[in-house]
Amino acid sequence: MNKEVVIRVENISKLYRLGQVGTGTLSHDLKRWWALTRGKEDPYLKIGMENDRTKKSKSEYAWALKDINFEVNRGDTLGIIGKNGAGKSTLLKILSRVTNSSTGTVKIKGQIASLLEVGTGFHPELTGKENVYMNGAILGMTKKQITDRFDEIVAFSGIEKYIDTPVKRYSTGMTVRLGFAVAAHLDSEVLVVDEVLAVGDAEFQKKAIGEMKNISASGRTVLFVSHNMPSMKALCNKGILLKNGMVDYSGTIDDTIDKYLTSDSDMADSGIIPVDMPRLYGTGEGRFRQVTLTDSKGQVKNEFYYLSPINIEIDLEILKDIPDAVISIIVGTLDGERILFQDSFFEKLQAIPLKEGWFTVNTQINQSLLPGAYSLYLGLAHINGTTIDLIERVSDFHVLKMAYEANRQYKWDSSHGFILSKEPITIKRQ
């Protein structure tokens, strides 16, 4: 196995100024210039806090990336994973030389091409053919290289008929196909790809992923950013997880994805909600403190049999009397899509008065969730809708395909939705 390092990222950091550019920057520029001409350090590189968007930063500057170090071997396909704002795009921009880092170096062997967008530089007035040349050249190909591969590119795009038509007459799908076709035929040894697979229809995405696989199988090095975990798993062998601009984990892609899905959540496993956990919303008059999920036998679990009820017990601390509380419990997917809602107001059509102190909240999810991974969201609010406390992804749990009653197993390979309806289906001859 050839394990030559082709990309080495050393101590990359990137400082961004928050707020509006153009107001007060002149004075900052002058101060910076004055400090640098005296041979001192840039005064604004020191300040700037960790890039955690849930907390309001006191500084005007923030580190989008801080001390990033990693290496990529030849032939590796590295998946870069992280939440929105973790610094993935900034990292890609630095690697593809669109912008410059504030500190650190990136060393690269071979030519690097970046696909941060499909069809960069397409001009609507130019024909498909002219745009293939334009786009190819922008991505670093020479005219000869494009000419050599032109027929392949056109065949791959599947729009031979329209190749001499101006691109402005193309549908969005056709433009994307053509753009991806050019990108797929790049010659460079290192390829940086950002979420480009998120475009086009399902058939095209399949083709695109297949082509990406071919590229990485051909021994080229690919750096890939996507929110689509299944395609990450299919394409990459290594992964790094970015969190608040720092490398949180690096390893095999499977480990990295697992780490990502469970990161942020010791909470998701234990159900214990830290008191000092930053809340995005809420008045703070009351706080959820713990959630426990139990099965019908009262055992604490995070895996449940198909069709069996899930008992939820919540510890709630009230810091100030609340005359009109409403508690809501939401079941969502791990992607954050909310699929089931339940609140304390529905049954009796009235809010609950809660005095200062600790309370235990009990309920049950008796809807039949289809097999899959789910997460719990908790909300406490006044009757007028003012949020008191809101916790997202407090507790993850799985519903298994197995059921208590053997003949009630979930029979299908994949989950065809989230909730089972038990209404009978009748069939009569017409």
Partner: protein, 288 residues
């Protein structure tokens, strides 16, 4: 264990991206690698401008023709400003053709960063390729316009016989190069300065217009007298315009000292332009 030695060998990296900002790390080799891109940009400029027009590239010639006729009507016939010994239409056509090349190049290159931010934000190529391509596409446009001028010039040389060019005509391409280099340099300085502070954009719009009146485009230098002449000559374009006309039309003045001044002026701006442009191109995308 051989892996280790390979990975520790820091000498054979093909490219090293640093946060530093070198002042004159102008990579000619890299620029050469992207020459095809430059030519494609030029091709795009030329063929997209007059798409869906009936007259097509004829517009390249119609524009200076109409401008010259308007100058002839307003400045020569109504305002009675003499064009000296040069036939008015020839004088105006020479002036507007040269001036258009200068001002068009300045106008487009000074918007390099702001107008192309979406492309620059997605992919790397040497940014200087774009303003350079504007210089080349401008040259093609200039040559088309110049051919119109040449036809009229030939008429005055061989039929009217009032114009005789001299050997200084051979130096004209050099002066033209200096004109466009000056335009290019000012343009890239402005685009670099306007990524953060847009104020200059407003200044440049009417600045270019005003500069035309301090260049012998409408008023020939021979008609400017006394100490006002210095205001024309301090403009580096004046001696260049005069030198071109001197060669082509055999009339005007060849100011050797002022030409040296213009050359020096252009070179200083060119070096300054490349330094500032290089410095800004690395992270303008964060502020534009």
């Amino acid at each position: 264990m051989t892996d280790k030695t390979i990975s520790n060998n820091t000498d054979n990296w093909d490219s090293i991206i640093t946060s530093g900002r070198g002042y004159l790390d102008f990579n000619i080799k890299e620029l050469w690698r992207y020459r095809d891109l430059l030519m494609l940009f030029v091709k795009k400029d030329i063929i997209t401008v007059y798409k869906q027009t009936i007259l097509g590239p004829l517009w390249f010639v119609i524009q200076p023709m109409l401008t010259s006729l308007m100058f002839l009507l307003i400045f020569n016939n109504i305002a009675k400003i003499s064009t000296g010994a040069i036939p008015p239409i020839l004088f105006y056509l020479a002036g507007t053709t040269l001036w258009n090349y200068f001002s068009d190049t300045l106008n487009v290159t000074s918007k390099t960063f702001t107008e192309n931010a979406s492309v620059f934000g997605k992919v790397y190529f040497p940014r200087i390729i774009l303003p350079l391509s504007k210089v080349v596409s401008g040259l093609i446009k200039f040559l088309i316009q110049f051919s119109l001028f040449a036809v009229i010039l030939l008429y005055y040389i061989f039929i009217d016989k009032s114009i005789t060019p001299n050997w200084y005509i051979l130096l004209a391409p050099l002066w033209l190069l200096l004109i466009v280099l000056l335009s290019f340099s000012i343009g890239i300085i402005i685009t670099a300065l306007t990524t953060k502070y847009r104020d200059l954009i407003f200044l440049i719009g009417f600045g270019v217009q005003l500069a035309m009146y301090a260049t012998p485009v409408i008023i020939p230098l021979s008609e400017v007298h006394g100490n006002k002449k210095i205001f024309f000559l301090i403009n580096p374009l004046t001696s260049l315009f005069e030198a071109i006309k001197y060669g082509l039309l055999g009339k005007g003045t060849f100011y050797i000292n002022w030409l040296a001044y213009s050359t020096l002026f252009t070179m200083v701006f060119l070096v300054l332009g490349i330094i500032i442009f290089n410095k800004v191109e690395k992270r303008f995308i964060d502020t534009v």
